[in-house]
Every structure is written in C-alpha cells, then in structure tokens.
Symmetry: C2
Subunit: 351 residues, 2 copies
C-alpha cells in the first residue's frame, strides 16, 4: 500500500480518543502509519495525558510529523447523537473536524460514535449540494474480481425513499470515479426481486430510480447475491447496511477462527498437520480480501471533505487501513468529484 500514496504533505486529523480502545490503539497505529507513509502528517487530537506517555515510550521514526492537539473531552459510544452534538465543544471528534474547516487538515479519521460523527461532520463541514444526509459507504470485494460500493452502512438508521435515491446517485459516482466502472449497475437491497416486495421506502426509491436515465438501475437484489458481482452499487438504509456488513464479517471471522483452532483441538499426525497448514494458508489468501481488518474505514460520502469512520472495535492494523483510506480519498479528490458528478446528474434530471 505504501507505494500507492504519492501526495506531498498530506495532513490527516485523527480523533485519538474515539473507538472502543482510544489511544491504546490509535497512537501506536498513528506511529506505524507515519513510518509507512513518509508524506503523511498527523494531527492527533485528544487528551495529552493519555497520548504523550505512549508517544514518549516510543522510538518511532516520524514523530516530527505528528502534532498533538489537546481536546478536553470525548463523545462516548453510547450517547445519543443529538445529545452528543449539543455538548460537542472541545471533544476530540469535533476538534478534529474543525481542523479541516480551518484549513489545517485535509481529512479526518474517527472510530467514535457513528451518529455523532455523521451529525458533526454535516454541521462543521456541510454536505454537498443536493444531498439531504451523508452516507457511510465501503467497497466490498465480490466474486467476479471487482468491488461493489455499498451504502448506507449505519449513518442513517432509517431512510425515506428520496434518501435512498440520493445514495444511489452517490454510489454510482463513487463506482465510476474511484473504481473506474463505466455506467455502473445500481441495485436496491430487498427481500425479493419482484417490484411488490419489501418496505415502502424501497419500493418508492425503485419507482424513482426507474425514471432517472443517467442511472443504470437494475432493480432489487437479495442479500444472498451480495458477493456475486451482480451489481456495482448496492443501496440500503443504514440499519440494514450495518446488519448486512456485520453478518458478513461475523461469518468470515467464524470461518477463519474455526480454521485456526482446528489443529489445536485434535492430535494430528504429521501429514494432517501439513494439510492443515496448507488449508489455513490457502484460505487466508482466498478470503483475506473479506477480512474486515483489511477494508476497515468507511467513507462518509456526501460531505465537502473526506471523513473516514473506522470500526469502533478496530485494531491497530485496521486503524492504519482507515488512515490510508483517508489519504487515498484526498489524493483522488473524491469529495470534489462526487460534488461535480452530483450537480451533473441532478441538473440533467431536472430538465
């Protein structure tokens, strides 16, 4: 991944206090990211008392490219977003976002409260014209060597039909701009392929999408086709998206852990040990792309700047992946391209 990042002086603001583990994960991950990416500069926002001791114990290179920005408090994971936003002044998440607004950083990464990050990002950075609410999205590898853009993953737990339509437009832009898919197929996640199936908001979105000529809408897709490569963009509300992605992750993790424990339980003879080793090696290669640690980092799309939401339970490796994703987004000017494409799609659709 190191060679992919070519920008000069790319500045990312990190919410060092967010997530289940806070500085214990974010600080070592920051140091490792700095040693991996020589052009990266990090603004580490949080409680200096929690951050500095970990930094001082380290002999990492790149410390000169790291600045600790003090903040007074943290938005807890279990607080309601609306309440969290009201008292967000001087929290690590808000300070990190303000650093973008003031021009000190180009992107922000946080593993904190998803709803609060969404609300604060919209409040501080504003959303792109034409977008009601930003969405969380990730690129899901599929069986046909490509990737499916899936959104929303939890930023908006309930969505009306018009929000789903906006997600579809953003997803199509992402697929085209980031993955280079021309005329990407767009589908709605549903519990059946017939038009009469599903919830009201989904059926409404389907009707509207049929009328947008610049969107290559292919209809409903069921969850068992998620990894089959039948669509380039998959749209759902944030509750469903979160459940879907976590189900997938859970199944993959169970498979990997079943394999890891399989050799320990049984006394294997030598050739079974060899076979066991190969099985594990083979599977890790086959399915590493589905390992949540590797694709951690969900884009909050529809904003004027890059904001990446890391898993709350992200480990060090996963948090580095989220930092790298922020760098890629800035490098590829994702927010600007979304804004441009949206204005084109929306203006076409209004005529």
């Amino acid at each position: 991944m190191k060679n992919d990042i070519q920008l000069q002086n790319l500045v990312v603001a990190l919410d060092a206090m967010g997530g289940d583990f806070g500085p214990v994960v974010t600080v070592p991950a920051s140091l490792q990211a700095l040693s991996l990416y020589p052009k990266l500069r990090l603004l580490l926002v949080g409680n200096p008392d929690a951050i500095v001791p970990i930094l001082e114990a380290s002999k990492s290179i790149g410390l000169d490219r790291l600045t600790v920005i003090p903040s007074k408090s943290v938005i807890r994971g279990d607080v309601r977003p609306a309440q969290a936003i009201r008292v967000s002044k001087d929290t690590s998440m808000r300070v990190a976002l303000e650093l973008i607004k003031s021009g000190h950083a180009q992107a922000c990464v946080s593993a904190g409260n998803t709803g609060a990050l969404m609300g604060l990002s919209k409040l501080v950075l504003k959303s792109v014209h034409g977008i009601e609410r930003p969405a969380l999205t990730t690129l899901l590898p599929h069986q046909k060597q490509g990737k499916t853009v899936i959104l929303d993953l939890g930023a908006n737990i309930s969505c009306d039909g018009s929000m789903l339509v906006q997600f579809a437009i953003m997803g199509a832009v992402l697929s085209e701009q980031i993955l280079g898919v021309s005329n990407p197929r767009v589908a709605l996640l549903n519990i059946g392929s017939e038009e009469t199936k599903g919830l009201d908001n989904i059926r409404h979105a389907s009707k509207v999408l049929h009328t947008i000529s610049s969107i290559h809408y292919v209809g409903y897709i069921e969850a068992n086709d998620l990894l089959m490569g039948k669509t380039d963009v998959l749209v759902c509300d944030g509750f469903i998206g979160n459940i879907t992605l976590k189900t997938m992750e859970g199944v993959i993790r169970v498979i990997l852990s079943t394999l890891q424990s399989s050799g320990k339980k049984n006394k294997l003879n030598w050739y079974m040990k060899i076979i066991n080793f190969w099985i594990k090696k083979y599977l890790f290669n086959q399915f590493s792309q589905f390992n949540p640690d590797c694709y951690n980092g969900a884009h909050l799309v529809g904003l004027r700047n890059t904001v990446i939401k890391s898993h709350g339970a992200a480990n060090q490796r996963a948090f580095i992946a989220a930092i790298a994703q922020a760098m890629h987004s800035v490098e590829r000017e994702v927010p600007e391209k979304i804004s441009h494409q949206l204005s084109v799609v929306l203006s076409k659709n209004n005529h």
Copy 2:
C-alpha cells in the same frame, strides 16, 4: 435422518405448485421422501396435468402412500399477500392448508409466496392465543456446538415492539422444548449493544423484555456475533431476519463455490491437487451445517398446527429437508408445546 422419524402414519400436505420450480422439484422430492420415510404419507396438492406425468415416469416405491389432490390455480410469488389471499380459493397453497383443518393432514409444506402462506395459515388454522402474528423461524448452528433459534425470517416485514416481545417468548419456548436448553438466553438483534442504539420498536421491546422475569433476556446482540453462540434465541423483524439469513447463506455459498472452482482454473501439480482435495473435503465437513440446503425449512410458529415454509429456490434435497422438518415438528408436538408454554408465560406475566 431416516431413523429419527418414528411416527406411524404421518400425513403431510404439500403445496406441489409453490416455489420457483413447482412440480419439477416438489414431485421428485416427494417420491424420495416417501422412499426415505416409510411411515410418511403425502397429499400432493396441485395441477394433476403437471404432477401425474412426472409420477408416471417414476418407478419409485411408496407411490401407494401418495395421493394427488387437485387444485385449480397457484399463488404466484410476486403477488401481494393481501391480494393473493382474497382470491386464494382452490389454490394449491390454500387447499393444502385446508387439508389440515379438515383433519386429513397433520402438517403442511409450501415453497410458495411467504406473505400469502403466513396470512392464509393464520386465516385457515388460527394462531395460538396471545400471538398477534405468527413468525418464521429456523435453527441456526453456531460456533459453540449448539443452535440459535432465530425469528422472524420474513413472515412480518415490519414489526412493532410488542410483536418482537411475542417472538422472544415463542423463541424461548422453541429453544427449551426443541433443543432442550434450560433457561435459554434471549437477545434482540441490533446495530450496537447500548440501550440507546437502534430503531424505536427494538428499544421498546428491550424495555418490556427486561420486565418479564420468566425470560432470560441478555440485551442486544450485533450481527457479527450471530454465529458465536452468545444467545439461544435471536429476535428481529422479518425484513432484517430475511436479509441476515440470506447474507449468511450468500457468504457460505461463495466460499464453497470459490473452493469448487479453485482447482479448475489453475494447472495444479499432483501434491497441490491432493491438498486441494483435502481442503474441499475438510471445508465441506466443517461448514456443511451452514449449507442452506441442509437447514431449509423454516417453521411458521405461533399457529395451532405445523406449517413449514421451504425456500422458494429450494432444490430437491432442500425440499426433502423441509418435509423432514414438518415430520419432526408433528412428532415432537411443537405447536401444542408452544401453546402450552405461552399460556404459562403470559399468565405469569399478567399477575
């Protein structure tokens, strides 16, 4: 599985026309089920013109235990349930359900329209006292050698809090009566573990479940913990349940098919071929329990009789599994036990 079924003269009514493939799958599956289970009698409901030629071409044993019951029409998969029910007279699904009501059959199996099956079952067979709407449920194998009862899987695509509470009670009864789990843990599927997370209906159900002393309620569980064995009963609305189960199935199928195709693409040398063979053998053994074909057949619980919904796309093997599940349910008197336990739980809770 053959030896598990010990009942004398167990009569199952089959909707032979339902599902994506109709008689092409249901008739051969019926014949195979008859040869597997000597005590089974089948009432095959459908269009004789479609069924009889397949029967006549067969030389199966057990044909004397099969009766074709003519029906005039079929409920299509893409029809709205309410509309389907209005014009359901003489459809294969309705005739099959009426055979239970008239005492000619003890259970019904259909791969047809889920919503219509739910509505018609409730209309024809009635639900157990205290249950607003029946739910679809299945037993999901988990990592700790046990099984989790998951419901609803699609009978009710939107549910209020009190319906989720009823599902929780039914799930606990199933876990206790069918799986022998004493004081089963009950959880709600949600997008976070904190009480403030999720949709209104889930939060409402959580509050109520905390007050029911006879239910061992353990709170919210996230989808990535689905197979971890952290709960014996997992409750969600039918839309979420359908998406969750199908996501899981899709991932498992992709893994199995990736494995099956892996040896074909590459020219492998002899030892890699052996390793490849072992990998497949190992994995099929490890994950066969998660293969949807093996656990096909979702119980429609909360009714006074046994109704099993087979996957619409079920193949022959899967349809046989659904027939076997119907036999087990009758043998173990599942509907009667649910009814009894519910009355106990509800009466306790009212005092």
